[in-house]
Each structure stands twice: as C-alpha cells, then as structure tokens.
Amino acid sequence: MTVTFTLNGRSTTVDVAPDMPLLWVLRDVLDLKGTKFGCGAAHCGACTVHLNGAATRSCVLPVTAVAGASVTTIEGLSSDGTHALQRAWEEVDVPQCGYCQAGQLMSAAALLSRTAKPTDTQIDEAMNGNLCRCATYLRIRQAIHRAAEMTATEAGGTNPGGRSGGSDL
C-alpha cells in the first residue's frame, strides 16, 4: 500500500507491504543505510529514529504508523554532519565498531531537544534503551555532556544544532 510521510524534511511516498517496519523501508526501499538493524524487537535501539521528534524504534514500527508524520534519520540529523552531537562524538572519539552509534545519536538528540543540559541520571535514563556491544558507554555520556556544552557556548548563533537538514528538533 502507499504511505506518505515527511522524511528528513522531504515529502516521501512509498508503496510497500503495510506491515513492513519503517526500518526496512528506510534501508531497503529508500536506500538510507544509516539506521541499523540489531535485534528486530526494540531491545537494542540500533534502529532509533525520530518520529515527530521523539526517539522511536523503527524495527517494530509498521510503516503505516508514520503516515502523515515527520521522520528524521541519522542522515537528516544535520545536512553536513555538524550537529553538536556529531561533532562531540568525533571529538570524544566515541565509536569502536560504530554500529550502534546512529541509534545512540538519535536518542541523544531527542534528549537534548527536551533537556538542554542533562545530568548523568537524565542521560542514563534517556539512553538506557540503546545497547552498545563494544560498551563505549562512558564516552557516550561524555560526548552528550560535551554537545550540551557546545550548544550552550554557541547559543546566540542561529542554529545551535548545526545546519538543519530537515531535523524536526
């Protein structure tokens, strides 16, 4: 069936099986490979995207559920990789294998959009659904603090989250 939604700022229509999870629409139909498959059961968070700004596990979300909604993926977090979190992730050198990091970044971005300067506890709560098999957790926490700090320092600029690529933050 046909489903229309906003993807990274652009209206997108797909014609797919109605039970197809958003994850597979993104990866195999729209060729956006940044969102990752880890468990297929919303246990690991590798597939996290934003659905109307909220961190959502796309591996268990039927595509019909996003009709008319706004979806942001890692490819749309910023147009050129300059979201504060992306810069912080590189500066702190977070990744090991890197496979979970898109999902981590999307969960972290949703957190920062609600809570500009989160505490460790707030970070832990917001990020507890995202597994990192390499256990880069200490750096994930550090990078979120660093991004919050960058954003605060850069406030006054027009675009604290980096140049927008259709992000709904």
């Binding site: 099986a17 990752k36 880890g38 690991c44 590189e90 294998c97």
Partner: protein
C-alpha cells in the same frame, strides 16, 4: 617466486610507479631462496600490493590491510606507517584493503595480534618510503642524502634552503632503489609525532553521519535479499519443507533447500528464502514448515553436561596436563585445605551487527562482501565447499559491527556464496538476531574441581585442578582447552592440572580472550579463597605467590591464553600499580561494599584490576568502580583508542559476569535475543580508570587481555562485601542477599 619452506623468511619491499606518476610501496613476508631471487623479482606491476601512494598532487594514501571490527586497527596501523613516513596525519587518506594474501601478510583480526605482528613491519614500510623520497631529493639537488631531513611531508636541504614536497618527489622516488627493510633507519621513539597521540577513528565521520560502511549496508545491482533457516539442533538436516507455500508469499522470488555437510563450522543444511526485500523474505519464513532430521545431538543439554561433569569429577582424570612436585602429599600435610567446584557457562558473542554477507557469482568468478575477521579462511572455506579455485574468489573486507571472535568463523560467508550460486543472482544474506544467537560458536562452558593447600605460615603449597571440558580423546573442542603453563603453574611447588572431556555437539569457538575469559575467573577466585584460608590480604598473598617462581622453565604454553610468556615482574608491576591507584586497603568500606582484585596474563598483556562493588541487602549488585593497570610494553600507539578498548573489554567482562548464559536444551539454544541474553546498559556502567605501566618490552595488543581479570575482581569484591563466594556464573543466578 620461490616458495621453498626451508629458507629464510624475510621481509622485502617492492616499489612501483603509479600510472600518471607518483609512487607506491609495499612489503611482503615471503619465503625467498636467496638475495638473488629477491633481486630477480621484477619491479612489481601489481598495483594492489601498495601500502603507500603519493600522487604528484601530494595526495598521500595509506592502505589499512586488516579487518576493522571496532578494535581501531584501520586507524592504528596507518598511524605507524605515517609517523615513519614523516607526514602529518591530517594530510593522509586511509583506504581499506580487500583480501590480497599475495601482497599483505596476516589480513585477519584475532588474538590481539595486530600490534605485535605489525609494529616493526609497518614502521619499516613508512621509513622505507621516507628514505626513497629523501634519495629522490638528494639526487635532484646533487647533495648527499645524509644532508636531507624531512618534516610534515617535505624534504629539506637546510644548508641550501631548498625544500620539495613529497608529491613533487614521488614519481622520481618510485625509481630509486628500495632500501633493505631490515636495516632502514627508524625513528627514535622520542621523534614520534603520531604514534602515542590520540588519533580519532578514521571512519568516525562516516559513522556519525550514517554513511554505508558495514557488510549489512552493501548493495549490488539486481540482488535479492535472503534469509536462511537452519535446524535448531546443530547440524540437523532438512528432510522436507513446504517450499511451494513459501514461494507463494508476497515479494518472494525463490525458495530452496541448500544441501549442507556435517561439519558444524561449514555449510549446513537449510532452507533459503529470497525476496525483493529482506522483510518479504523474513515474513515468508513464518510460513515455512520444515521437517528436520535432527541428528545425534538432539538430546544434549546443559543440565546433562553438568551432571556428566559431576560424575567425571568423581573419577580419575582422563589425562594429566601437568604435574609438578607431589600435590597429593602436599595437600595431605597442608595446614589448611580448600576444595571448590567452579563453573562458567556457554556464552554467545552477540555482535550488534547480525551475521550477513553479500555474494555474486558471475562468469565463474565469485565476488563477496563480508564483515569477517578472517577473510582468507573464508575464501578457503568457500572454495573448498563450492569446488572453486581461490583465485576465482574476491573478498571485500567490510567494516564489522563488532567481532569479539564471532567473525573468525565464516559460516555465513559460505552460506551466502552457496545461496548466490544456487539462485543465479547476487544475494545479500542477513540473519535475524535469533539466528545469530542460536547459531553461534559459543564460548564453551567449563567445570573446574579444585583443591588447594596453605601451610602454617599461610604459604600456598599445593594446587590441584581437575578441569572438565568438552572434546574427544586428547583433543579439546575449539577454545575449550587450557594451557599447561597457565598461572599459577610454576609458582606452586606441588601442582597438578588434569583434564577430562565430554563429547559435544554444540559449535564452540573463540570469544574475546578465549580460554582466559573463563580460566581467569576460576584461578583468581580460588587464589582469593586460599588467601582467605591463609588469613592474608588478597594482594599481599598474590605478591608472595609471584615471588615464588619455581626453577622449571615454562612448558606447554600456547599463544594467547595458554600462559606461556607470563612474567612475574611485569605482573607485580601492574599489581602494585593497581593497588596504589585504587587505594587498596587504605579505606574502611561499609558492610555490603567491598573491593576485589584479579590479575591475568593473556595475549602478551599483563593486567591487574580492582573492582569496588556494592551488594544491596536484597542482593542487587552494583559495580561502583573499576581500576585497571596494564602492561602492553613500551608504547601505547593510540592512547585514546587504548582507553576505549580497555573500558570496553572491562565492561564486556562485567556484562558476562552479571547475566550472560547460553543454555542448551533438547540440543538447541534456549536464548534468542537481548531480553534473555542481556548486554550491559548505561545505567549499569561504572567509571573505569585505566593506567598503563610503560615497560621496556615490545608493544603488544589490547583487544583482549584487559577482559579476563575483571570477572574474578568482581566476584572477589562480592565476597569482600558479603562473605558470599561466587563459584559459578552468571551472577544473576545467585542469591546474594544478606542481612
């Protein structure tokens, strides 16, 4: 090329001009009969054997030869080359090599070997490139090479004030004689400008922007997506399947039985379903009904293994692995004897990227894109299984979403290749998480029946371990063995290590720090028990043990987890360091909170670790903090990544200890996903403080050796906190409540 085996193994260097100018440079470990053979080797015309490419436009490309699985090797090996080449890291581009055994030695990821095997060879590659660029400049300027210096990719002749960039020299440099790699001058460590600095991962930007990098991201035009259902009992075969019903499902293009063999590490029988999308193939799998011939192992179970181990423990061991002195007499005369049974379970690797591989057979040539730790073994397996020549198979090494030892085995690669051949189209095979967890090469479970004795002075005088494992006859199942030189062998005068094995029909294999990840828990916990029996502080007791080296030389050591290479001085160094940094014994901790220590040598690394843990009255364990002291030699090549790896390995060990277990029932794996095989989550993560003890030893690897000690350090901390001795894992199966 001479490949006679009884000749010197030497490294030689090839250089060739790039079409359009520039140079490239490669090394090879090959067998050569003589210097004449080397001289007779024509200037290489194979462009692929290069590590370094410099174009006239000064674009400097360094090839990363080994598979990147998250250990940072794609950054680390080029760092070594770039430093000796004397270029700025910001000016370097990194390129991942495909499998090319002719031109790159040792293209694999495993055993924490990348650093020890490549440290000197990669330095020589870079230094040789620098020497040739200097030679080109000296020739251009008609000055002695000894008067030329380099810095940041430029050759200088200071006295005449002349300079040329590497790019301007590259074409000429490619015509200069290649220096002898054995004697090419290397930097003094004090001159390093990249080695020893914090260099972020070269793929970081691609990762944080979601660019395709991994095996699972590969797209080949015209490919179909495949799922593959195997028998839940390992090695079972398809008797029949309702293929027509499956083929009728929406989006399904093909469904067929793949005939497999009997080797658990080869191609196994199963049903392949190919669809226009992976979701279509996976959805159709729900309709699939297979009648399996489950084979001979359908009744095996974890419970039965435990019962069999208990029975074996009552019988004389099947064989002796080591016997020093007279352990029985020493135990009989010991002032205090402790007896204990230890157990660790099967564990899954569970890398976050499920197994996958893309394969395309075209005109008799197979092209494969795979996340693999051992591409050469994978190619061999595909060639043997499909009856192809290895030269007709190309392997593209994709970044792996985690390895941990799982991708040492290429079962998914041979499946993809077999399915692609049978389907006649390019195929991307992707396993589900459930497939991944239920068809792993598990860390084997192990049972240890121990007896130890201390004398009236609290000295450890006797140790006996009957290790009950899996295998047949004298052969242990994969990664189910133990090294005869494993500590504390050689440090106790009366020592026996015996073994008995049971047959196993479960695939096993290397999980990060194989054998060590189980053995360290047992050995370092039992030492703690003996320290307690001796009435001694656990660290002091260990210091005394390390001072008690017996004269006999090490024997039976294996590389990696076997214990050969253990150095008491180096271990004492890290033990003292971790005691100091953790404030061991200097503070009074409340009831329910305790510190524990463990040390272990594996993969050439010496590590000692202290855990502080708190156990609530209800028995909930919180790891408060971990201190790590490691000795990996004279140089930490990339300190930022070294800390990341060490934190990761330590937290990995904690996750294993807290809750991970694979259970076998009715011949199959019970656990299926992360709800019943838990990874660590952020709320459980303690601070991990890391210190490296720099010693005058060659640099060694870091992917594995920091993992093993944390497990006993944690269980020993729990003992200190509660008085409860944990002798089996995982902790989630224990009642640790106290009042």
């Amino acid at each position: 090329m001479n490949t006679t085996l009884n000749v010197d193994r030497r490294q030689f260097l090839r250089v060739t001009a790039l079409a359009g100018g520039g140079m490239l440079l490669g090394t090879q470990l090959e067998y050569f009969g003589s210097a004449e053979a080397l001289a007779a080797e024509p200037a290489a015309n194979a462009v692929l054997n290069a590590y370094i490419r410099i174009t006239p436009e000064n674009v400097i490309t360094i090839v990363a030869k080994n598979p990147e699985i998250g250990q940072g090797v794609k950054t680390m090996l080029p760092m070594i080359i770039a430093d000796e080449l004397d270029v700025d890291w910001k000016d370097v581009r990194i390129e991942q090599a495909s499998l090319d055994t002719e031109n790159y030695p040792g293209q694999s990821a495993g055993g924490s070997t990348a650093t020890p095997n490549n440290w000197t060879p990669m330095r020589r590659v870079g230094a040789a490139g620098r020497a040739m660029l200097i030679a080109a400049a000296a020739d251009t300027w008609r000055v002695p090479a000894s008067e030329c210096t380099t810095a940041s990719g430029v050759v200088h002749h200071r006295s005449s004030g002349r300079s040329l960039r590497y790019g301007e020299l590259a074409t000429k440099a490619a015509t200069m004689a290649a220096p002898d790699l054995e004697t090419v001058p290397l930097k003094n460590p004090g001159q390093f400008r990249i080695i020893g600095t914090r260099v972020p991962g070269v793929d970081n930007h691609a990762i944080v922007t979601g660019q395709p990098l991994y095996g699972i991201d590969v797209t080949v035009p015209g490919m179909l997506f495949a799922v593959f259902e195997k028998c839940p009992v390992f090695g079972g075969r398809v008797s029949n399947a309702n293929l027509d019903e499956v083929r009728a499902a929406a989006g399904v293009r093909q469904a067929f039985v793949v005939e497999g063999g009997t080797a658990l590490n080869g191609l196994l029988s199963g049903v392949a379903i190919l669809g226009d999308t992976w979701w279509a193939a996976k959805s159709a799998r729900q309709r699939l009904r297979v009648t399996w011939d489950e084979g001979a192992t359908a009744q095996q179970s974890s419970a039965a293994f435990a019962a069999q181990a208990a029975t074996l423990s009552q019988q004389p061991p099947q064989r002796s692995l080591r016997r020093d002195g007279d352990p029985d007499a020493a135990l009989a005369s010991a002032a205090n004897v402790v007896e204990a049974e230890y157990f660790y379970p099967f564990i899954s690797h569970a890398p976050l990227e499920p197994q996958n591989c893309t394969a395309h057979l075209q005109n008799g040539r197979m092209e494969i894109w795979a996340p693999t730790q051992t591409p050469a073994s994978g190619r061999r397996l595909v060639a043997q299984t499909l009856g192809m020549q290895e030269t007709d198979i190309t392997i593209h090494i994709m970044r792996s979403g985690g390895g941990f030892g799982r991708r040492l085995y290429n079962d998914y690669m041979v499946e993809a290749a077999a399915i692609a051949r049978q389907a006649g189209v390019p195929v991307k095979l992707l396993w589900t998480r459930e497939d991944d967890m239920q068809h792993d090469f598990y860390r084997p479970a192990g049972f240890h029946y121990l007896k130890g004795g201390v004398d009236a002075n609290g000295r450890l005088v006797a140790w006996r371990n009957h290790f009950i494992s899996f295998g047949e006859g004298e052969r242990f199942a994969s990664s189910a063995g133990i090294g005869a030189a494993e500590f504390p062998a050689r440090y106790i005068a009366n020592y026996a290590l015996d073994a008995s094995v049971m047959p196993l029909g479960v695939p096993t294999g290397a999980l990060r720090a194989p054998t060590s990840n189980g053995v360290a828990f047992v050995v370092q916990s039992f030492i703690d028990e003996l320290a307690d029996a001796a009435g001694k502080d656990p660290i002091q007791f260990r210091r005394e043990l390390l001072a008690n080296m017996q004269p006999e030389p090490p024997q039976g050591g294996q590389r990696g987890g076997g214990g050969g290479g253990f150095d008491a001085d180096r271990m004492r160094g890290v033990l003292d360091m971790v005691a100091e940094r953790s404030g061991w014994g200097r503070q009074q901790l409340p009831r329910g909170t305790g510190m524990g220590v463990g040390f272990h040598y594996s993969h050439r690394g010496h590590f000692a670790e202290v855990v502080q843990a708190t156990v609530s009255r209800q028995g909930v364990v919180t790891v408060d903090k971990v201190w790590v002291a490691g000795d990996i030699g004279s140089q930490v090549i990339n300190p930022g990544n070294a800390e990341n790896q060490t934190q990761g390995a330590v937290l990995d060990g904690i996750a294993e200890a807290l809750g991970q277990e694979i259970t076998i029932e009715r011949g199959r794996t019970v656990q299926s996903n992360f709800h019943d095989f838990p990874l660590l989550r952020l709320t459980q993560v303690p601070p991990v403080e890391i210190h490296f003890n720099i010693t005058n030893n060659p640099p060694t690897g870091l992917g594995e050796p920091s993992l093993p000690p944390v497990v006993p350090a944690l269980t020993n901390a729990i003992f200190a906190a509660t008085g409860k001795r944990v002798r089996s894992l995982p902790l989630s199966k224990h009642d640790l409540s106290w009042s």
